[in-house]
C-alpha cells in the first residue's frame, strides 16, 4: 500500500465516522428528552458534521480526482463507506445514544490527542480544532453515562442494556490494519495498539462511577473501517442522507 492510498483511506474513515455519527445524532433534533439536551445533542451533531466536512474535503483533495466533500458523502454506496460499525447503530433510546457516543468519544479523544502531533500539517490543523470539540463531547457523554448509570433503577437497567448491546462494536476502533500501520510508520497517526490500555482505563473509570458492569465479549464485530462489512442500518442512513442528490442528480443546492 502506498502512503498516498493509506492517507486517503485514513481520511475517509475519519470523515465517515464523523458524518454517520453526526447523522445519527441529528435524528434527535426536535425530539430530545428535554430542551437543554436537544440543544446539546444537536450541538454535538453540528460539531461532527462540521468535522466530517473538513475531513472529507481533505480526503477528496488527496484523492485528486476532482471530487468534493459532497461527492464523497452523497455518491458512495454502503460498501464504499469506511466508518466503524459503532457509529451507524441506531438511537433506540437515549441510553443507546449516550453509550454509542461515550464509546466513540473515548476513542476519538485519544486519537485526536495524538493527531495534534501529526507530521501531516493539514490533518494536524483539523485535529487541533476538533480536539477542543471532542474534549467537550467526551465530558458530556461521560457525565450522562454516570447520571443514567447511577440514576434510577430504570435508567440503570436501560443503560446497562445499551452497553451490553454496543460493546461488541468497540473492537475495531483500536485494532490496527495495514492502513493504520502505514499511517503510524509515516508519523501521521498513532500506534493504535498503544491507545488500547488508556482506552480501557477510561471506560473502566467511567463505568465504575456509573456503577455499570463491563460486558464480557468473546467476539467483537468488525469490518466497517476496512470496508469488509457494515450493518444493515447503513443502507437506510444513506437512503435518507443521499435522497435529494440521488433523485435530482448533478444540481447545485
Amino acid at each position: 500500500m502506498t502512503l498516498a492510498d493509506a492517507k486517503y483511506q485514513y481520511l475517509l474513515r475519519m470523515g465517515d465516522n464523523a458524518l454517520i455519527l453526526g447523522h445519527r445524532l441529528s435524528e434527535w433534533c426536535g425530539h430530545g428528552p428535554i430542551l437543554e439536551q436537544d440543544i446539546a445533542i444537536t450541538n454535538i451533531a453540528l460539531d461532527q458534521v462540521g468535522q466530517a466536512r473538513s475531513l472529507l474535503q481533505y480526503a477528496a483533495q488527496l484523492e485528486g480526482k476532482g471530487r468534493t466533500e459532497d461527492n464523497l458523502a452523497y455518491k458512495r454506496d454502503v460498501m464504499e463507506y469506511r466508518n466503524v460499525l459503532l457509529v451507524e447503530q441506531p438511537n433506540e433510546n437515549f441510553a443507546y445514544t449516550i453509550v454509542r457516543q461515550f464509546l466513540f468519544d473515548a476513542f476519538n479523544f485519544l486519537l485526536h490527542k495524538s493527531l495534534v502531533n501529526s507530521k501531516d500539517e493539514h490533518l494536524k490543523a483539523i485535529a487541533e480544532k476538533s480536539l477542543k470539540e471532542i474534549t467537550y463531547h467526551l465530558r458530556y457523554s461521560s457525565e450522562w453515562m454516570i447520571r443514567l448509570g447511577d440514576g434510577t433503577a430504570e435508567s440503570h437497567q436501560k443503560i446497562q442494556t445499551a452497553l451490553d448491546d454496543l460493546f461488541i462494536y468497540t473492537g475495531e476502533l483500536l485494532t490496527p490494519d495495514a492502513v493504520d500501520q502505514t499511517i503510524f510508520e509515516a508519523g501521521i497517526g498513532p500506534d493504535l495498539t498503544a491507545l488500547q490500555a488508556p482506552y480501557q482505563a477510561k471506560i473502566d473509570e467511567i463505568l465504575q462511577q456509573a456503577t455499570l458492569q463491563k460486558p464480557e465479549v468473546k467476539y467483537m464485530q468488525s469490518g466497517g473501517k476496512d470496508g469488509r462489512m457494515h450493518t444493515e442500518y447503513l443502507g437506510y442512513i444513506l437512503a435518507e442522507l443521499q435522497f435529494v442528490q440521488r433523485a435530482y442528480p448533478n444540481m447545485e443546492w
Binding site: E27, P33, A45, V49
Partner: protein, 323 residues
C-alpha cells in the same frame, strides 16, 4: 387583597409608567390581566419555537449538501434556544415550564398555526426561512420595545438570529430559482403552499382580533395584525419578483396611490380550521411533542435522582468532617 379603590390607583400608576415608555420588570406591581396576557403570549411564542423545530427538523437528515445540513441544524438549534429564552421569560412572571408544557401537550395551549403544514420538499426549508422567519421578524421586531422588560430583551437576541434565518432561507430559494427546471418547479410549489399560511401568521383581521386593543394600550403590541401583514406583503412581493417566482395571488398588485401592494382575500375558514386543531399536521405535531416528553421522562427522572444522590453523598461527607 387590595381594596378596589387601591387597585384602581395602582392600575393608573401602572398605565402611567407604560405611557412613559418605562419597562415593567418581574418584581414590579402589574395587573393580573397584564400578567396573564403576557404568560399566554410568551408561552405560545415559546411553544411555536419548539413545535417549529419539527417541520424543519424533518429535513435535517435529508439536506442536499453538507453545507446546507450544517446551516439547517444550526437554525433548528437556534429555534430551540429561542424556546428556552422564552420559557425563561414566562417563568419571570411566575409560570412554571412544566405547567406550560402540560398545556401544550393537552392541546390547551396554542402555537403558531404555520407549523401545522407539512414540509414536502427541500424547497420548503427555503420557503420557511424566507417567509415564516420573515413574518416572525415583522411580528417580533416591535416586541423588542414591548413594555415587559424580560420579553423585550429576549426578543432582541431572537430577532438577530431570525433575520439571519430569513436571509438563509431566501438564499436557498434563490439558488433553486436559478437552478434547473426541476429545482425552479420545486421552489414555485413551495411558495404556492406556504404563501397564504404565512399571511395568516399575523392573525385575524383587526376587526376580528379580540386581544389587540388592550395589548396595544399595554404596549405589548405596537402594530395591529393588518398593519404587520401589509408590511410583510410590501417587503416580500418584490423579493419574489427578484428571484423570478410568482406569488399565488391574482389580486396582488402594487397600488401607486397607497404606496402598498393590494392583495386578495385570505381564506379565514382554513385559518380557523387549523387553529382549532384540524390542520394538515396538528395531530402529528402534538403527538411528536408528547412522545418526546413521555419518552424523555425516565431520562429527566434519572438526572434528578442522580443529582439528589450526589447531594446526599456530599452532605454525608461534610457531616463526617464535622464529626
Amino acid at each position: 387583597m387590595k381594596a378596589p379603590a387601591d387597585y384602581a390607583h395602582l392600575e393608573d400608576q401602572f398605565q402611567a409608567r407604560i405611557d412613559a415608555e418605562e419597562k415593567i420588570e418581574p418584581k414590579d406591581w402589574m395587573p393580573d390581566k397584564y400578567r396573564k396576557t403576557l404568560i399566554r403570549q410568551i408561552s405560545q411564542h415559546a411553544h411555536s419555537e419548539i413545535v417549529g423545530m419539527l417541520p424543519e427538523g424533518n429535513w435535517v437528515t435529508r439536506a442536499p449538501s453538507l453545507r446546507r445540513k450544517v446551516a439547517l441544524l444550526a437554525k433548528v438549534q437556534d429555534e430551540a434556544g429561542h424556546g428556552l429564552y422564552l420559557y425563561g421569560a414566562a417563568e419571570t412572571l411566575g409560570a412554571e415550564r412544566d405547567d406550560l408544557l402540560d398545556e401544550l401537550h393537552t392541546g390547551n395551549a396554542k402555537y403558531s398555526s404555520i407549523f401545522n403544514y407539512p414540509t414536502l420538499s427541500w424547497a420548503d426549508i427555503g420557503a420557511i426561512g424566507w417567509l415564516v422567519d420573515g413574518a416572525a421578524i415583522m411580528n417580533q421586531v416591535p416586541l423588542c420595545r414591548c413594555s415587559y422588560g424580560p420579553y423585550a430583551r429576549a426578543m432582541v437576541r431572537v430577532c438577530k438570529e431570525e433575520s439571519f434565518h430569513q436571509r438563509q432561507g431566501y438564499e436557498i430559494m434563490l439558488t433553486l430559482a436559478r437552478g434547473t427546471e426541476a429545482q425552479k418547479k420545486m421552489a414555485q410549489d413551495a411558495l404556492n403552499r406556504w404563501w397564504w399560511p404565512s399571511l395568516m401568521m399575523f392573525g385575524p383581521n383587526d376587526a376580528e382580533s379580540k386581544h389587540t386593543a388592550q395589548s396595544m394600550a399595554w404596549k405589548i403590541k405596537r402594530f395591529t395584525n393588518d398593519e404587520l401583514r401589509q408590511r410583510f406583503v410590501d417587503i416580500t412581493a418584490p423579493q419574489a419578483e427578484f428571484i423570478g417566482l410568482t406569488i399565488p395571488d391574482e389580486h396582488l398588485k402594487y397600488n401607486e396611490e397607497t404606496g402598498h401592494y393590494d392583495f386578495g382575500p385570505i381564506n379565514w375558514d382554513e385559518f380557523w380550521q387549523v387553529v382549532s386543531g384540524e390542520g394538515p399536521c396538528n395531530r402529528q405535531r402534538l403527538k411528536a411533542r408528547r412522545r418526546a416528553h413521555e419518552e424523555g421522562q425516565w431520562v429527566r427522572d434519572a438526572a434528578l435522582a442522580h443529582a439528589e444522590k450526589r447531594r446526599q453523598r456530599q452532605a454525608a461527607k461534610k457531616d463526617q468532617k464535622v464529626a
